[in-house]
């Protein structure tokens, strides 16, 4: 009960606030038929929806979700690889780290037009934007996780004359996996943002969720606009839940720190 009731109360407050906003805005409803123009109250959310509109949202969802998934998977590979490479050599770490920080503090979104110009407005360009936005937390957490392996554990592998590969796969990566998952959780959120926001810059082809929101906004179709935004929220939620479940399955049973 204690875990369900408080969030439920907040939910009621949000709905109430939503209604308050919808009915306090000037000119929120068309004088002709009373349909909502800016913020649809919750019960009118689906009023403007029809089959073709659902169709547009579904294909936008497909494009954004696949971009985020592929981007996040590549971020995982790139991030873990970079973390591993940097943990192998202090020289490589000091060579790469400042540039990773520079990339991290760059608002990648402003680079999107350049990337689109170079690669073309393709699926590949969407994924590149997503990867650039989302790989850093995985890379840094992999590095810190691998650096945090206790010396005694390293000594055991040294005395067993373990190969570097065995040390990596049986010691360092498993030891770093809680940190990697913490990074993955942050990166998952960033990948969704990258896939949806990056979409604003793709002016051709099927729109993703980001550009579809803009279309519905321009057409003053506030209902579908809100539905599209909600779908985007659920994409983010889906990523978060998936990563949490994977963590619970793979790491939580043994990680008690």
């Amino acid at each position: 009960m204690k875990r369900v009731v408080p969030p439920l109360i907040v939910f009621v407050v949000i709905i109430a606030g939503w209604y308050a906003l919808a009915y306090s805005l000037d000119n929120n409803f068309a004088s002709v038929d009373g349909s909502p123009l800016i913020v649809p109250p919750p019960h009118m959310l689906f009023d403007g929806m029809n089959a073709p509109t659902w169709q547009r949202i579904t294909s936008a969802l497909a494009i954004s979700a696949i971009t985020a998934i592929v981007g996040l998977l590549i971020s995982l590979v790139v991030g873990v690889s970079l973390g591993v490479v940097m943990s192998f050599s202090r020289a490589l770490e000091s060579a790469l780290w400042p540039w990773l920080i520079a990339l991290q503090v760059t608002p990648i979104i402003v680079l999107t037009p350049i990337i689109v110009r170079i690669i073309g407005a393709s699926f590949g360009a969407r994924v590149v934007v997503t990867v650039l936005i989302s790989f850093f937390p995985i890379a840094s957490n992999t590095l810190f996780g691998m650096r945090g392996v206790p010396r005694a554990l390293h000594d055991i592998f040294t005395l067993a004359r373990a190969s570097r590969w065995r040390r990596l796969t049986q010691l360092q990566l498993p030891a770093a996996s809680p940190a990697i998952f913490a990074g993955l959780r942050v990166s998952a959120g960033l990948a969704v943002i990258g896939a949806i926001v990056g979409d604003f810059f793709f002016t051709r082809g099927t729109p993703g969720l980001g550009r579809l929101v803009v279309f519905f906004f321009q057409d003053t179709r506030s209902g579908p606009m809100f539905v599209t935004a909600l779908v985007a929220i659920f994409v983010g939620l889906g990523f978060f839940v998936t990563v949490s479940l994977l963590r619970r399955l793979l790491v939580s049973p043994w990680d008690h720190n």
Binding site: I156, L159, A160, A162, Q170, L171, D255
Partner: protein, 262 residues
């Protein structure tokens, strides 16, 4: 200045570990100074000394994890086991998989005779861990974790085992249990052991020979053959000898020797 008692006699045949004039320097100061020590095959030797006297450094040097600044260390063992003060278990492996860690490695290297599984099973049974084989390390008590650490080390059948205050973090009762378990396993496998401890009674109870080190830079200032001082030990390995007056007397003499230099 004469330092310690360099062991005499023929060290070529049965010697498992020969330390000759080893000194080690960290940036600006010596941590150990001119240490010489020989361990015969099957012998258990304990090093006692105040904290910071370089015991751990000496042990790591004996394992080959550190190259000493001066002196030489000969190891006549192909497999060396190391037991740390902390259990140093792999948290992501269950008890059985932890016990198999160093045995599995042998399979990869392809130089095993295939009896690793048998040894692991036997050690798990002897140490009372068999029924906990599917647990995660965090589900074990401190004593069980240390047992598992010993099992993992001995499963690889090392000829030389180095132990760095292995029972230091345990309560008295658990420690006594593990002492006897350690001696039972030693009787089975006849490995050679060099153990660092700050507990004098532990050193006297477990070791054939107790080596006393001075505060930093650590030198050997005395050696005691336990059998010469405590009658029916160590051959009989009766746990009752803990309560023999001669046991307490030897502990007292070692403590006095340590006290001289602290």
């Amino acid at each position: 200045m004469p330092v310690g008692d360099a062991p005499v006699g023929d060290t070529s045949v049965a010697a498992m570990l020969v330390v000759r004039g080893v000194s080690h320097r960290f940036t600006d100061h010596d941590v150990i100074h001119d240490v010489s020590l020989t361990l015969s095959s099957g012998e258990i030797v304990a090093i006692v000394g105040p904290s910071g006297c370089g015991k751990t450094t000496l042990l790591r040097a004996c394992a080959g994890l550190v190259s000493p600044s001066h002196g030489t260390i000969e190891r006549h063992a192909t497999k060396i086991g190391f037991v740390f003060q902390e259990p140093a278990l792999l948290a992501w492996r269950r008890v059985e998989a932890n016990a198999r860690l160093l045995v599995d490695g042998e399979h990869v290297n392809g130089d095993t005779d295939g009896d690793g599984d048998v040894i692991v099973e036997q050690l798990l049974a002897v140490s009372g861990l068999a029924e906990h084989r599917h647990k995660w390390p965090h589900e074990l008590s401190g004593g069980m974790k240390m047992r598992l650490s010993l099992v993992r080390t001995l499963a690889a059948k090392p000829q030389l085992v180095l132990l760095d205050e292995p029972f230091g973090a345990l309560d008295q009762l658990t420690r006594h249990h593990l002492h006897d378990e350690f001696l039972r396993l030693h009787a089975q496998q006849r490995f050679t052991a060099l153990m660092v401890t700050h507990a004098i009674d532990e050193a006297v109870y477990l070791a054939d020979r107790v080596v006393v080190m001075s505060p930093a830079p650590g030198r050997i200032i005395a050696e005691f053959e336990v059998a010469q001082h405590v009658p029916h030990s160590p051959a009989s390995r009766e746990s009752s000898r803990r309560y023999d007056p001669s046991f307490a007397a030897l502990c007292g003499r070692i403590a006095a020797r340590l006290g001289d230099h602290s």
